[in-house]
Symmetry: C2
Subunit: 189 residues, 2 copies
DNA sequence: AGATCCATGTAACTAGTTACATGATTCC
DNA sequence: GGAATCATGTAACTAGTTACATGGATCT
């Protein structure tokens, strides 16, 4: 048993955001929605206390700026120590994380419902993948031709990589949905 | 504000398992590791209390059987109400779930590390996808040629669908990893 | 005799969600 | 004047993890 008290995934998500651009907690919450929210999300109620913990550990520092809230507005930036901790976490050997994929769980139970309901479910899942694919492609288009996106030490390089991953896997998921539809339609009744 | 107290995803995961085969809590925990664990996971310490809640709601029932533990061994089975609740959940219109994908989060920060470390990370991620792909293909091979797998009202039909989805998306992920490797190798230094 | 599996539970904790609370500024 | 946006926090809750606890049966 360890009382280690180490930074969790949310902390590294925030460090990654701040390494790209210093921000207030509010801005971090907005940036968490999109595009980071494509692979990590958090509410502001989780972000504010986590920023305080990161500051305790010396991973971020804040300066008070003028802002619109009833309390002082704080802009956070990563420290050298925070950057180092993030770099180390990125390349660490991590054991595989537990998966929790609600859509696949629902599809795994599709044998319980009638054909029409099954087709509706597949269509619903397909729509979700389609929407995400469109979003990824739009983000990618914005980065296209940007010379910084070719530099592997620039954040935009990493953004392009992750977006391309999203495109590839969502396209595969669409193909899967089409197969499922065919399978359901051609199945004997 | 609602005090609705409704069944969550874990409850439906357990109902789905029990709809396929009545089991003890212990067996459910084992089945959660593989193959269900490919898309949903839970520990026994989460499973036992959840089974009690499902029973409170009349979704499952248990009978005491002979077993090896110090306490009475209970075999659970879904009730008609539980089956109905599961069917309704499967086809419900659900809002998209928050995503938490640690691997993509790490790749999104890859611009912070040197080329070798970046290549190592990509290789690590690739290995994970490879291992999963192999597992999916093995499970699929076991189901191949099974006449029940063609019947859309049989659980094996749904198993095949989800495994095929896994194969398609993991193959896409492998392609993605190969692209990332090329991109990193061909990048100017 | 010791390890592993079967079997069920609770306690203490961390992570994440939803709701409450406050108040200035800007847009319509 | 009202809604949306900026801005930060806390409280109460649900979900999930890790550790503690117990003990028979089977395998080596």
């Amino acid at each position: 048993m360890q009382r280690e008290e180490s930074t969790g995934s949310l902390g590294f998500a925030l460090l990654g955001l701040l390494a790209r651009k210093p921000s207030t907690g509010y801005e971090l919450a907005r940036r968490m929605e999109r595009p980071v929210g494509y692979f990590w999300s958090a509410n502001h109620s989780q972000i504010y206390p986590e920023l305080a913990r990161l500051e305790d550990r010396g991973f971020v520092r804040h300066t008070v700026i003028e802002g619109a809230g009833p309390r002082p507005t704080k802009r956070y930036a990563v420290s050298a120590r925070g950057r180092k901790a993030l770099r180390e976490w990125v390349v660490a050997e991590l054991e595989p994380q537990p998966v929790r994929d609600l859509e696949t769980l629902r599809l795994w139970n599709i044998w319980l419902v009638d054909r029409q309901a099954a087709l509706d479910l597949v269509a619903q899942v397909r729509r979700g993948h389609e929407d995400r694919l469109t979003a990824y492609e739009q983000e990618l288009a914005d980065l296209e031709g940007d010379p910084e996106a070719v530099d592997p030490t620039h954040p935009k390089f990493a953004s392009v990589l992750t977006l391309e991953g999203g495109v590839l896997t969502r396209r595969a998921a669409l193909e899967w949905c089409d197969r499922m539809r065919q399978r359901l339609e051609s199945a004997p009744r």
